[in-house]
């Protein structure tokens, strides 16, 4: 940052003057002049600034407007109604300094001198370089929170000013013919007394200081705020201001504090900002563009690369006229722009609007994370309902049936459940159930089913009675459009049969090892929970050594296969046949792999619905 710099410019190019101020210059000197500053700055509320210009340049008067403009930029709570008053006073003071002080034109513009004579005298003096090059020093600074001062110092001979009394000033008339109580003062000075809150002379009359009460107390927070965010969010918001000009940061900070924000962090460049965001994760960032080390656009890039800061609003301060700069800011990830000079109400409106969006997104994200955590817990609970490895191993041991299960719960919760019921050393019961719908409701129904089953244990040996009882238990619990498809079978080694009852579950596929063919098992039946007192049919098929039964949830035939269509029962049967010759371990593994491959689920993809596949093969 440039602390003390002389910036060379010409008054013919006022844009260079703006540029000088913007880049942090404290002192400016016209390129054709060669004057040095004559004294140090007064420390003030905002930085005191000084312009040293020649009589020739000061006479162009545009300088007064530049001074006012600069004050306007630096003061967030500037009262615009004072602009004209200050401008008039400053014009008058500069004119006095140039014409009476430096150029020595003593005639004042009164009724006895014509305006033409007066200006001729000024033009003649300006034609003499010795006079025209004399410096005029303009200083402006702030004292306390309320007073703004200008001083205009000329290089002339000074004049013997008289002390004044406030009542004299009050009584002084601007009418040129009226008696003048301030003998040493011309009419212009009387004008200044009427415009300014403080008028003081120093340096033998060469310096006039004009004071204005300009700063209102910062507006109450509730007049600045549009109330878009809650008091709690306002209290908790961390706002990071990134700007290499400390007065610029100060202005923004002052506005934010006055609007009730409490956590304001400051960084002088993008590099500082990036280390600061680690310590105080910001809720919003306001950044300048031109800064050393890491500029505003690079900062936007870096922030957007941080996964946890993708949504942090970034407001970029730009020159509003430069459309390319503005577009560039958006391309680098800025959410909004704010033009300089900063206006307090506009800044707060933008900050609140973006914080509202940020906090809403954050709340949604937190909610989503919480729900995801809860769903994950529920999924784990759902998984715990399934047979364990030990349960499956016991089937092989006891009932001589090799069982393999594949269960892929959807990202949401689902209504699939399957299980085994070892009934005796020669009988193994098993079921597969699918409740309508997905999500929490369907999952809760699987828990209802699990809870209802133990009380029905007496019916485990008779599939039809088991389904009848289950229907009676579920019918009052389920709403009209909810139901469960169900299949319950018992593999009986002694009789060599599979006896079963079904309630509309997807048709199991039976591999008949004797004939080396597959067949669909009739699983039709009104789903559970649809009609009261429904009675289910008991069916049976032969089930001999080396026979296999495949049960599955509807996801297997409804999930769109890689080929773009649904997998059909015939395709599943054909795959079963293809792997049937192998020992059960290999056959189960390969078949499940083939099925998942067909559906395109091998590369970590998931079916949108729960997918359950279970294979049971009788040992030889």
């Amino acid at each position: 940052m440039i602390q003390q710099a002389y910036y060379a410019f010409t008054f013919d190019r006022l844009d260079s003057l703006y540029a000088a101020f913007r880049s942090g210059c404290k002192q400016l000197i016209e390129i054709t002049d060669s004057y040095s500053p004559i004294e140090q700055f007064e420390p003030g509320y905002f930085k005191a600034q000084r312009l040293v210009v020649s009589s020739r340049s000061a006479y162009r008067f545009a300088i007064a407007e530049e001074v006012i403009r600069e004050i306007r930029i630096q003061n967030p709570f500037f009262d615009d109604s004072l602009t004209d008053t200050m401008l008039t006073a400053l014009h008058e003071a500069i004119a006095n300094a140039v014409m009476h002080g430096n150029l020595g034109v003593q005639k004042s513009f009164t009724s006895e001198a014509s305006m033409a004579d007066y200006y001729k005298a000024v033009q003649d003096a300006l034609a003499k370089p010795a006079l025209a090059d004399l410096p005029v020093v303009l200083d402006f600074w702030q004292e306390g929170e309320e007073m703004l001062f200008f001083s205009v110092t000329d290089s002339g001979k000074g004049f013997n000013y008289q002390p004044y009394h406030p009542t004299q000033v009050a009584n002084a008339s601007l009418d040129a013919d009226a008696p003048n109580p301030l003998q040493s003062h011309g009419m212009g000075i009387r004008l200044l007394y009427s415009l300014c809150d403080v008028v003081e002379f120093s340096k033998d009359g060469r310096c006039i200081s004009l004071g204005f009460k300009i700063l209102k107390h910062p507006p109450e927070a509730d007049t600045l705020s549009r109330g878009l965010i809650s008091a709690e969010h306002r209290k908790n918001a961390h706002i990071l201001i990134v700007d290499d000009l400390d007065y610029s940061r100060h202005i923004i900070k002052t506005i934010l504090l006055s609007a009730g924000f409490e956590h304001i962090h400051e960084a002088a460049n993008g590099k500082e900002a990036l280390s600061l965001v680690e310590k105080h994760p910001p809720s919003l960032i306001i950044t300048d563009v031109m800064m050393p080390y890491v500029d505003g656009l690079e900062l936007c890039d870096a922030i957007r690369r941080k996964p946890d800061m993708v949504y942090v609003p970034i407001i970029v301060q730009t020159a509003l006229l430069d459309i390319e700069e503005r577009i560039k800011a958006f391309e680098h990830g800025a959410d909004d722009l704010i033009g300089q000079p900063i206006h307090n109400k506009e800044l707060i409106a933008r900050v609140e609007m973006h914080l509202q969006r940020y906090f809403s997104i954050q709340q949604l994200r937190e909610y989503r994370v919480r729900v995801e955590d809860e769903i994950e817990l529920a999924r784990q609970m759902h998984l715990s309902l399934l047979p364990t490895k030990e349960d499956l191993a016991a089937c092989q041991e006891e009932q001589q049936i090799y069982v393999t299960q594949f269960f892929d719960p959807s990202s949401e919760l689902g209504g699939d459940l399957w299980g085994i019921k070892p009934l005796s050393p020669t009988r193994l019961g098993f079921f597969i159930c699918d409740f309508t719908g997905h999500g929490v409701g369907a999952a809760i129904n699987t828990f209802r089913l699990q809870a209802a089953m133990p009380s029905l244990e007496a019916t485990y040996h008779q599939p039809d009675q088991f389904l009848n009882a289950l229907n009676d238990a579920l019918y009052p619990l389920l709403s009209i459009n909810q139901f469960a498809t169900f299949f319950y079978g018992i593999i009986d080694r002694e009789s060599g049969t599979l006896i079963y009852s079904a309630a509309g579950s997807p048709k199991p596929i039976h591999y008949d090892s004797t004939a080396n063919r597959w067949e669909q098992v009739d699983s039709s039946g009104v789903p559970l929970g649809v009609i009261a007192n429904n009675r289910y049919e008991l069916r049976q098929i032969p089930f001999l050594p080396n026979d296999t039964i495949l049960v599955y949830s509807d996801a297997l035939i409804e999930c769109i296969a890689q080929s773009g269509s649904h997998l059909t029962e015939a395709e599943i049967g054909a795959l079963l046949l293809q792997h049937a010759g192998n020992p059960p371990e290999k056959m189960h593994k390969d078949l499940i792999r083939s099925l998942l491959g067909q559906l395109g689920l091998l590369s970590g993809n998931h079916c949108p619905d729960d997918l359950t596949i279970a294979l049971l093969t009788r040992n030889a």
Binding site: G437, F483, T485
Partner: protein
């Protein structure tokens, strides 16, 4: 799914076509509401162009059945084909609905 309604004197003919899944929930419930507003009418669902139903769709049809039982509305399902017919057969819908085929 597309729902096309055609009204005659005392019969409402509703043609369903395409895939009938959970995502049709909202639209089907609105249809159901309209049907429920006119008790004692006959509603024929033409299903020959309905290509796919999932279990949620069966659930919605069960809501329809409930309406027919409680409001005295006569519901007929006509010409289920392909996967729709398979799902109806599997769930024994013939025990729950009056199902008709044009060629019978």
């Amino acid at each position: 799914m597309k729902i096309h309604e055609k009204k005659t004197a005392d019969t409402l003919k509703v043609e369903l076509s395409g895939s009938f899944t959970f995502s049709d929930n909202q639209e089907f419930r609105e249809l159901l509401k309209r049907i429920n507003e006119k008790p004692d009418q006959k509603v024929i669902f033409e299903l020959s162009r309905l290509e796919f139903v999932d279990s949620a769709a069966l659930g919605m049809l069960l809501l329809l059945r409930d309406a027919s039982e409680t409001k005295g509305i006569k519901i007929e399902l006509h010409n289920p084909q392909g996967q729709t017919k398979k799902m109806f057969d599997l769930s024994n819908f013939s025990a729950l609905f009056s199902i008709h085929y044009d060629d019978e």
